[in-house]
């Protein structure tokens, strides 16, 4: 590559300044647009990931009894992890240093009653101390704060282990009239009989945190008990909002009459190591002879909400990014074609002096590359200010299928910038190359007379 020729190509930028500025503007704005759309997609990914892994307590890796993911609901006793499985899993996970947290969880249906009215619930039982760590994890605090979390009252971990407590989703709490969570200091639970026909029954129910729970034990027997509503939590999923409940693991185990669990979740220090840890885990589980299945957090059947939302967001964002790319490509290609057609005689002259088609392509591509690099630098600065501004304004972000309010908080990181930059740069080069390729392939005599096609 002849440096002097490259410098000549760069110097050609001074010709047709207006057009070069227009081309550069299209590239720069396209880059800023791509930065915004990729930043927005990153945000949605982080939101959904944090909600799924930490908010839903799914974990980065989940262990089920073999076929338990599909069949636990219909036969919990057979397809649950028993006490021995849980002990073995505890021992094995303790040997893997990449694991940050781990613990068993139990899920299942039941009825919650305020004494006058009963509603079905679907509850998650988790160790309150584990729950505290998960909810206070920096990643969860950063990305899940607007999606799920405590709306009123206190979390499970604020109470002693022997207390019978429950947290309700905001919709379910409204349905059973328990919108005033229990104050742990006053510990006020009414034992007075409730007259469900009384005019002030709603106020009385709301002032009283006590609810009655009924479940269907894994041994086939009906079970029940009392619990105090300690808090109301938000959930972004409208299907869960009117039915979700959270209890300490031991309490839900008691309701279902078991010491087993539905699944065993694992949270990693570094989520990039999921595959690596799954491989290690599978090896250790096979050695221990455990009949279990191991899934990553984003396994579609495990995290259907994440899977659906993520694919939907990806489709929308790819569509918008494609439109941006198309507009940029068209703009660069048109501009490059006009420039090249205007300079066809010059190309003809250079070809007659001995420049090969390859050299002509190189010279024009270097010109376009110079424009693209300047445009990318300007576009990055503009994109940075645009995204920072939009983030600062705090525009509301309403995602379909998500009821919790989010705010636009696009992510700018070096990876996003470099990925978008490389995409725009390659697009510019490809568009310019196509334009010069079309003209340079012409007969030199036609180029010299301006009668090229």
């Amino acid at each position: 590559m002849n440096f002097q020729l490259l410098m000549i190509a760069a110097r050609n930028l001074s010709r047709n300044r207006r057009r070069n500025i227009a081309t550069g503007s299209a590239l720069g704005l396209g880059f800023a647009g791509l930065l915004a759309i990729t930043g927005f997609h990153e945000q949605i990914e982080h939101n959904l990931r944090a909600y799924t892994v930490y908010g839903m307590r799914t974990g980065h890796i989940v262990v089920y009894k073999h076929d338990g993911l599909e069949k636990f609901e219909t036969n919990p006793k057979e397809f649950s992890l028993d006490e021995k499985d849980l002990q073995a899993l505890k021992r094995i996970t303790a040997e893997i240093p990449e694991i940050e947290y781990d613990g068993a969880q139990i899920v299942g249906p039941g009825l919650v009653s305020n004494g006058c009215q009963s509603m079905p619930f679907y509850a998650t039982g988790i160790d309150p101390e584990l729950d505290r760590r998960l909810q206070q994890h920096p990643y969860n605090l950063r990305w899940n704060a607007g999606l799920s979390g405590l709306k009123k009252g206190r979390e499970l971990w604020a109470y002693s282990a022997d207390e019978q407590v429950i947290m309700l989703s905001s919709g379910l709490a409204a349905l059973v009239g328990k919108n005033v969570p229990r104050d742990p200091e006053s510990n006020a639970i009414s034992t007075d009989p409730i007259d469900c026909a009384a005019a002030d029954v709603k106020d009385k129910l709301a002032a009283d945190s006590l609810v009655q729970l009924a479940g269907y034990g894994w041994n086939g027997m009906m079970t029940g008990g009392d619990a105090a509503v300690t808090g109301v939590f938000a959930t972004p999923n409208p299907y869960l909002d009117s039915a979700a409940a959270r209890l300490p693991l031991s309490q839900l185990q008691k309701l279902y009459g078991t010491r087993g669990a539905t699944s065993y979740s694992i949270w990693l220090k570094d989520e990039d190591k999921i595959s690596e840890v799954i491989a290690t885990l599978n090896s250790k589980l096979a050695t221990a002879g455990l009949n279990v299945d191991v899934y990553p957090w984003n396994y579609p059947e495990l995290s259907a909400h994440y899977d659906g939302m993520s694919k939907f967001a990806l489709t929308i964002n790819v569509f918008i990014a494609t439109i941006i790319a198309f507009v940029v490509a068209l703009s660069v290609s048109n501009s490059a074609t006009m420039t090249i057609i205007e300079r066809a005689r010059e190309i003809g002259m250079m070809r007659s002096l001995g420049f090969t088609r390859r050299w002509i392509r190189v010279l024009f591509v270097v010109e376009i590359a110079c424009i693209a690099l300047i445009a990318l630098a300007s576009g990055a600065a503009f994109g940075f200010f645009l995204i920072s501004g939009l983030n600062a304004v705090g525009l509301p972000l309403d995602l379909p299928g998500v009821i919790a309010g989010l705010k636009v908080k696009m992510v700018i990181n070096p990876e996003t910038i470099s990925r978008s930059g490389v995409a725009i740069f390659l697009l510019a080069i490809a568009s310019g190359l196509y334009a010069v390729w079309r003209v340079a392939k012409n007969n030199i005599a036609y180029l010299l007379t301006g009668t090229h096609r």
């Binding site: 070809r351 007659s352 007969n443 005599a445």
Partner: protein
Amino acid sequence: MVMHVKHLNESDNREPQLVTATADAIVRLSSLVKSYKLGQTIVPALRGLSLELNRGEFTAVIGASGSGKSTLLNMIGCIDEPESGSIVIDGIDVLSLDDNERSRLRNQKIGFIFQSFNLVPVLTVAENVELPLLINPQVPASERRDRVHQALEDVGCSRFVRNLPDQLSGGQRQRVAIARALAGNPDLVLADEPTANLDSENSHRIIDLMLDLNARRRVTFLFSTHDEKLMGRVSRIVHIADGVIKS
């Protein structure tokens, strides 16, 4: 075959003198046929044209518009292809070469002078002259500057080295274009109506310059022209009409 060709004597700067050229052919064209398609009409440009140019000749191609002059120059310059016939430049069968080989041949053996000068406006005079040398691997970087200065001195433009083309007159620009054509020390220089955009005085100066360079550098010149006043200055005239050579 020995051909007597008139040439400018390099010892005399004022009046062109005639010398005898070597007679080996640098260009051999045989039965060239070329036509162009204009809409639905096929327009013949060359109809079995044959021609030999000897090394060192100073030849003018004359003929009416559309007679095939430019097409002939394009064929010799390897920038267009005939439908049939053969083209041999300095012993090389041009039609057997691929595009890159022809580019190399043009770069190292042929110089071009265009009617509208075709200088690159963003490059200085020196850079314009240097342009074909940049892709000539036979000319090392250390030699380029000397070649450029020599070529510009030969055409009397050495004082314009740092000027841009639009700071020069038409005649000066054509001189620079001639310097560019000569910088690579070609065997053959093709000029398509090099004086068409110049006034009479400048036209004569350019022809004088070309004659001078033809004599001093022993470069073969072939140029097309309409200007009858220039015809008496050349050693050989090729008259072309309807795609064939009349005389």
